[in-house]
């Protein structure tokens, strides 16, 4: 029976009304229980996201943050290097520009030198190297340019040497022979086709000289005109902060194609040769090639710009850290939030499950209560027709001739069945309503005899009724007590389907009254015996299983006790114990 099993599961013992009350009480506790275990379940919940994470310097980072870190660092380094390269490039170009300007100035200076020399040469040519004419022009020139050592015209002689035709200044006189570097320069000038040629630095007597030679057409045919200048100490250091032009450069002019320390024409520093970031430009002096080397003393781009790469690096690093931090924080918060959501979702699910289960239970109990009430109502309704049938059977028995076997048999059947129906209804109603007893003085002996009549044992059961002496009275609800007795008798007979003996013994004590109902049936094992008084428990194929539960409760409410003694194969003895003095009703059982 479905209802039976489900009610057993719910553990409902007692009438539906009480069930509802009892159901209401545990509900808050189960709701609490739903809230209770959830923190524990959360801590043992899904693995936190921070658990699986690569670590940088021991700090867990997410993959994306790691990538961002690497990318940004690389970008920073690249930017720094690019900035440096850019600056270097810029610096180089600026240096070249400035060096170019210096070169230009040098070229102009040479041109400036070349002009008077050409004029001198023209005079010499026209005057056929007349010394007086030469001196007339050369003299003022020497005075105008005090650095000039000598001005002369020379012609090649044998063996590559040259003879001075005319001279002005010091160091040379007409007729002198010139050899060596000067002579080589003269050769160059003669082949120069009008372009001058410069000597290397010539050191004589502790003094440095340098000269410029010019051949025809500026000079007489086959001759060179030559201007020699005294050179001061090579280095004229200028402070880098002075407002002189090119103060920001270290410049060195070499009368050679390489940084030859003996050929330094002029330099603004003595840290020679210039190395590192230099601009080395070959300066043509006519047909000679000199080398102009320049180097910046300070960053030409400016010190602030020069430190740009460091700023880029710094900014890049700071930016990288910031971005990674922000990323990390964002992810962390998201993970935290997600973890929280997971946690709450789990808690919610658990609560929902609890709620569903509780609701199911409540609905079930409500249904049971409703069914119980319906059953009670139906039971009530049945009592009237059963009463009428019972009366009618009595009247039929009276009308029928006594001893008529057919009538006797069928009347007996009808009476028994009405009795059975009455018992079912009575048990159901008593279980459902748990009626408070109405105490009267009950003749227990008469009640037993009435019960035996109502629940007439079958013919194969012999009845032993030992009322004992006297007719004791007991304070009880007569109808309820009769229900108990009828239930016990019916049970005993049901235990002896093949027949047996039903013994009822009444023992009246001073304080209590004992009634034993004994059968010689199969008996019960321990587990059955323990369940026998539970509602809806039955070992029979038919029957609701309420009879003994109701009987036990009725006896208990009367202040007494219903117990059973049984063993397999030895039958059962049910004992009703009732107090003699009127027990105050101990409330609802």
């Amino acid at each position: 029976m479905d209802d039976q099993s489900t009610v057993d599961k719910v553990g409902g013992a007692g009438n539906p009304v009480q069930e509802r009350r009892r159901a209401a009480v545990p509900a808050p506790r189960t709701a609490e229980a739903a809230a209770g275990p959830s923190p524990q379940s959360a801590s043992a919940g899904p693995p936190r996201r921070t658990a699986r994470r690569p670590r940088v310097f021991g700090i867990p980072l997410r993959g994306l943050s790691l990538i961002a870190l690497v990318v940004l660092l690389a970008a920073t380094v690249a930017a720094t290097l690019a900035t440096r390269a850019l600056l270097r490039d810029q610096e180089k170009r600026l240096l070249q520009e400035r060096a170019g300007e210096v070169g230009l100035i040098l070229t102009q200076a040479v041109s400036a030198l070349q002009a008077p020399l050409s004029a001198l040469g023209a005079v010499a040519a026209l005057s056929h190297s007349s010394p007086t004419a030469f001196a007339t022009v050369a003299g003022p020139q020497i005075q105008t340019h005090p650095g000039t050592r000598a001005l002369l015209v020379a012609r090649p002689t044998k063996n590559g040497a040259y003879a001075v035709q005319v001279a002005a200044g010091s160091g040379f006189a007409a007729g002198d022979t010139i050899t060596g570097a000067r002579a080589r320069t003269f050769d160059q000038a003669l082949q120069g086709q009008g372009k001058p040629a410069a000597t290397p630095i010539i050191t004589e007597g502790g003094q440095r000289y340098i000269g410029l030679a010019l051949g025809p057409p500026a000079a007489p045919d086959g001759a060179v005109v030559y201007d020699e200048i005294k050179l001061s100490a090579p280095t004229t250091a200028t402070a880098s902060t002075s407002s002189a032009p090119f103060a920001e450069l270290d410049i060195a002019l070499y009368a050679s194609t390489q940084q030859n320390p003996r050929q330094v024409v002029v330099a603004t520093t003595d840290q020679l040769p210039l190395t590192g970031q230099i601009s080395a430009v070959k300066q043509p002096i006519g047909t000679t090639t000199w080398l102009l080397v320049a180097k910046s003393r300070q960053p030409l781009v400016g010190s602030i710009a020069a430190s740009a790469p460091w700023w880029v690096l710094g900014a890049g690093l700071v930016g990288t850290i910031l971005v990674v931090l922000v990323l990390e924080m964002t992810f962390r918060r998201r993970d935290f939030a997600l973890d929280l959501v997971d946690e709450r979702t789990q808690e919610l699910r658990a609560s929902l499950r609890q709620l569903e289960s509780t609701q199911e239970q409540l609905v079930h109990k409500e249904r049971l209560a409703a069914v119980g009430q319906l059953a009670a109502a139906v039971g009530h309704e049945l009592r009237n027709p059963l009463g009428v049938i019972s009366n009618a059977l009595y009247l039929i028995r009276r009308a029928v001739p006594a001893g008529d076997p057919v009538a006797e048999r069928h009347l007996g059947i009808a009476e028994r069945e009405v009795g059975a129906a009455t018992l079912i209804v009575a048990d159901l109603l008593e279980f459902a309503k748990n009626r408070q007893p109405i105490m009267t003085d009950v003749d227990i002996v008469g009640l037993v005899e009435e019960s035996l009549e109502v629940a007439a044992p079958p013919s194969n059961v012999s009845v032993e009724w030992e009322p004992g002496p006297g007719r004791p009275l007991i304070r009880a609800d007569r109808d309820q007590l009769r229900q108990v007795l009828v239930n016990l008798i019916v049970n005993a007979c049901d235990a002896m389907p093949g027949g047996g003996t039903l013994a009822i013994r009444l023992t009246d004590g001073k304080e209590t009254l004992h009634l034993d109902v004994v059968d010689t049936g199969g008996g019960m094992d321990e587990s059955t015996r323990q369940c026998i008084f539970q509602p809806f428990f039955t070992t029979k194929a038919r029957g609701v299983g309420l009879g003994l539960a109701v009987s036990e409760r009725v006896v208990r409410v009367h202040g007494g006790h219903l117990g059973v003694d049984s063993a397999p194969g030895l039958g059962s003895t049910f004992t009703v114990t009732l107090p003699h003095h009127d027990q105050p009703a101990e409330g609802r059982a």
Partner: protein, 120 residues
Amino acid sequence: MSAHVLVVDDEPGMRETLADILTAAGYRVTVACDGDAALDEVTAGPYQAVVMDIRMPGRDGVSTLRAMGPPPPYVIMMTGYAVDEQLREAVAAQAFAVVHKPFHVGHMLELVATAVEGAA
């Protein structure tokens, strides 16, 4: 002169069978279908015993019982489906006995006999 018993029940089946049982037992039986009719009968009287159903339409058994007294005659209350409250009220209103349907006929006859004896 045999004792006069009043049977009060709105259900014809119960009313008629009980009346037949009591008549067969030798009593003079009058039936009433509801509380008001019962009151009229009792006033007209005299009755040695009354067997009355508790649940009846209109005036119910307990109210009728109260109206019959005080003190009421010997009234045996019958009930198929009375609530506890009504039973207590019946007892409080001095019903002679309260019997549940279906009742044991022998027991009912005993009660009526005792009531009639008491009324005499």
